[in-house]
């Protein structure tokens, strides 16, 4: 379908753009980046801050001017106003700039002035725009309404003192994520972004996905920084410090060091972690391969023996939390396999100490994740203590790791590549693609194909139908005549409709239309996680995604069951059986259970 194009004038320059383009985006074609603050390309324009104001040129009302075009005294917001054919826009004049400056000064007057101690110093959008406008002095009296921060969850901190009421977090939590933990509460200057009924975040539907923190322009929502715990463990001579990194971290952490999104920094991360003082450096991609063994065999068992279908992936803890709160009718469908993080940690405190003659009580496991929900996952329930200890001791987000590396003075970008340590460090391409939406499904299909058909590999190693940014991807995979119906959903807001399709099938008493569903709570999958470097947009997500697929293609081995360290694990430790195959050890260490959780907890 042809897109209709329209032409308008911006600062006297003719510009042609597709119909429906906002003035903000149309202006880019005229070399103008209209300043914005509350606007975010992921979301509907909030139209709240008042910074992006521009003017139209309109026919003069003065008869002497003969209808000449003059700047209108009124201003309108560029972010939400559609550019129309024949429009004349003035993006800036001294008056417009002054109005923007005054609005900015008003916002700053009600904002705490402690940039130096703020978690967003250096990546704060308010700080950036204040610097751009050359703010030196705030003429208005300062007034900050103080409320104690909400740090009830282990994952995220809400600091309303710094909130500029842009509304992004509510829009994200409601429309993008369909969680509805946060909303505008109150009115006027008393507005806060908070859960209903005065409860704290931990008592609300919050799934700790951290997407609010990933979209917050300032330091009003941020990750719970636990680097101190890690420094303490590294300092402790009694502890053997192991660390694992998630697939999505390697294509994003470089952004904190001036590298492009998507640049593969795997070897550098291993090197940096060793330099920080970790005793052994492992890779969650290894346990992603293990997850495929566990979940792949689980799927085949259910698929061939009439077990509960569809099988739902369970590696995303925010998704698990959402399911337990909003969709407990799918508990039986969930794969009992733990997440790769938890599998590796469990093995790190059982398998690894045994093979290396180390007392498991002295093993400390840090996990570097693109995710804030993982900080909650590690203390969810007793299954996360399957080794007799808390399997994962600390989770750090990508952002926290970057700060540790900087504090240590390590010149990350210049580091030579190093390999991971043995036993829990090797991975196949299937493991690394866990970091993107569709990756778990693709990895599972690669192995399932081989296990079902007995063949060495599928006709195509790539299953492109599960890739991409579309909210829900559906496909029927033909495994030599056996049809497997799959669905892949990412961004929590896209998931409920898929579940509703299954519910409809249940009501009608028909076979569920999907056999296997992958869900990732964050847009784009883990590469867009709530703990990744801030200010991600679809453009950044696309780059990180490309990096992951490059990592996959670089691997010699691209199917989980071919990972030699995985094969060794089953042979030497797990008695050659996965949980689905009756392996007791595998079941105990690598599998979990689920429960119904109240959406709200009131005292």
């Amino acid at each position: 379908m042809e897109t209709e194009m329209i032409t308008l004038e911006i600062n006297g320059k003719a510009v042609t753009v597709p119909k429906g383009t906002s003035i903000l985006n149309a202006a880019k074609a005229a070399h103008i980046k209209i300043p914005t603050l509350c606007y975010h390309p992921d979301l509907k324009p909030g139209a709240s801050c008042g910074i992006c104001v521009v003017r139209q040129l309109v026919p003069s009302r003065n008869p002497a001017d003969n209808g000449k075009l003059v700047p209108s005294p009124k201003m309108l917001r560029a972010c939400c106003t559609e550019a129309t054919a024949g429009m004349h826009i003035l993006t800036h004049d001294p008056d417009i700039v002054q109005v923007r400056k005054t609005v900015l000064e008003l916002i700053l007057a009600n904002h705490p002035q402690d940039c130096l101690q703020c978690p967003r110093s250096g990546s704060c959008e308010l700080q950036a725009i204040a610097a751009d406008f050359g703010i030196r002095d705030i003429p208005f009296p300062k007034e900050v309404i103080h409320r104690d921060p909400d740090n009830s969850t282990p994952s995220i901190v809400l600091n309303s003192d710094k909130c500029i009421k842009c509304g992004r977090c509510a829009e994200v939590c409601q429309e993008m994520q369909n969680v509805w933990a946060l909303e505008f509460i109150g009115r006027g200057e008393k507005t806060v972004m908070a859960p209903a009924a005065g409860v704290k975040l931990a008592e609300s539907p919050c799934i700790k996905c951290g997407q609010c923190s990933a979209h917050c322009p300032v330091g009003a929502i941020y990750e719970n920084d636990e680097t101190a715990k890690v420094w303490a463990a590294l300092r402790d001579p009694e502890k053997t410090c192991l660390v694992q990194i998630a697939p999505a971290v390697r294509v994003a952490v470089g952004e904190a060091f001036g590298m492009k999104p998507g640049e593969l920094t795997t070897g550098k991360i291993y090197a940096a972690l060793r330099m920080l003082g970790f005793d052994k450096v492992f890779d969650t991609n290894f346990s992603a391969d293990v997850t495929i063994m566990e979940e792949g065999t689980e799927f085949i068992k259910r698929f061939t023996e009439g077990g509960t279908l569809p099988l739902l992936t369970s590696c995303c803890p925010a998704w698990t939390d959402w399911m337990e709160k909003y969709a407990p009718d799918f508990t039986e469908n969930f794969s009992t396999a733990k997440s790769p993080q938890q599998m590796l940690s469990a093995l790190a405190k059982s398998y690894w100490p045994e093979k290396n003659g180390v007392d498991p009580a002295k093993v400390h496991v840090t996990s570097i994740m693109p995710c804030t929900a993982k900080k909650h996952e590690i203390i969810r329930d007793e299954f996360m203590k399957s080794t007799g200890f808390q399997d994962t001791d600390v989770v750090l987000t990508t952002r926290e790791l970057a700060r540790m590396i900087k504090a240590a003075g390590i010149d990350f970008a210049s580091l030579p590549e190093e390999p991971a340590d043995k036993l829990l460090g090797e991975y196949t391409g299937a493991g690394t693609i866990f970091g993107v939406t569709g990756g778990v499904m693709e990895a599972a299909l690669r192995t399932a194909y081989c296990l079902i058909t007995g063949e060495a590999k599928p006709p195509s190693i790539d299953f492109k139908e599960v890739r991409g940014m579309e909210g829900v991807k559906k496909a029927t995979i033909d495994i030599k005549g056996t049809k497997v119906n799959i669905a892949v959903a990412h961004q929590m807001g896209n998931v409920e409709k898929v579940l509703n399709e299954i519910r409809e099938d249940r009501r009608n008493g028909v076979k569920p239309r999907y056999d296997f569903i992958e869900v990732m709570a964050c847009r784009g999958g883990c590469i867009g996680g709530g703990g990744q470097p801030c200010l991600a947009t679809d453009a950044v997500r696309a780059q990180r995604t490309a990096g992951i697929y490059t990592d996959d293609e670089k691997c010699t081995l691209r199917m989980s069951h071919l990972n030699p360290e995985v094969q060794a694990l089953y042979k030497d430790y797990l008695g050659g059986k996965t949980g689905a195959q009756g392996g007791e050890k595998a079941h105990h260490l690598l599998h979990t259970g689920y429960k119904k959780i109240d959406v709200y907890h009131f005292e």
Partner: protein
């Protein structure tokens, strides 16, 4: 402080059923809730959330936006003093201060015995009688500060 658990009345239930399919029903339903209980009880809000399939966060977002809705019960006799321009010019804020003084409570708070609460309200449209106070629907106009004591006594006698 644990909240009182109110029971959903059959009339309220019927009202919600009637309005369930109408788009934009939330505020009308909340009005009926407030009419029934004198405020919006939390457990009723939760029931409404289920019945209308509306997230609780949205309900509280609406309730806390609109001044009309209360999250706590007001006094048996709710004194609403008009602070419209005409009433203000004719001494409305003095009337408010006198009520506060005599009842010993600030605005939007309830007296210890649960009998009285005072609030400043927007223009009631009785500007010809400025300054005006309304107590449970009864209009008291052309007030002077010396009238306040008498009005309080009038309702206190009713108990």
């Amino acid at each position: 402080m644990s909240e009182k658990l109110e029971t959903m009345t059959p009339e309220l239930k019927a009202f919600v059923e009637e309005w369930k399919s109408k788009p934009g029903n939330l505020i009308m339903v909340l009005h009926r809730v407030q009419q029934t209980y004198g405020y919006i009880p939390r457990n009723i809000a939760i029931e409404i959330s289920t019945m209308l399939d509306v997230p609780l966060a949205k309900i509280y977002g609406v309730v806390t936006f609109y001044n009309f809705f209360r999250l706590q019960k007001s006094g048996k006799y709710n004194v609403q003093v008009c602070l419209g321009t005409a009433c203000y010019l004719r001494g409305g804020d003095d009337i408010i201060k006198e009520f506060e003084r005599r009842l010993g409570v600030g605005l939007n708070a309830t007296t210890e015995d649960g009998l009285f609460s005072v609030e400043a309200v927007r223009c009631l449209g009785c500007c010809g009688l400025a300054p005006v106070a309304v107590v449970n629907g009864e209009v008291h106009g052309k007030l002077e500060t010396k009238d306040v004591e008498g009005i309080i006594e009038q309702y206190r006698k009713l108990g």
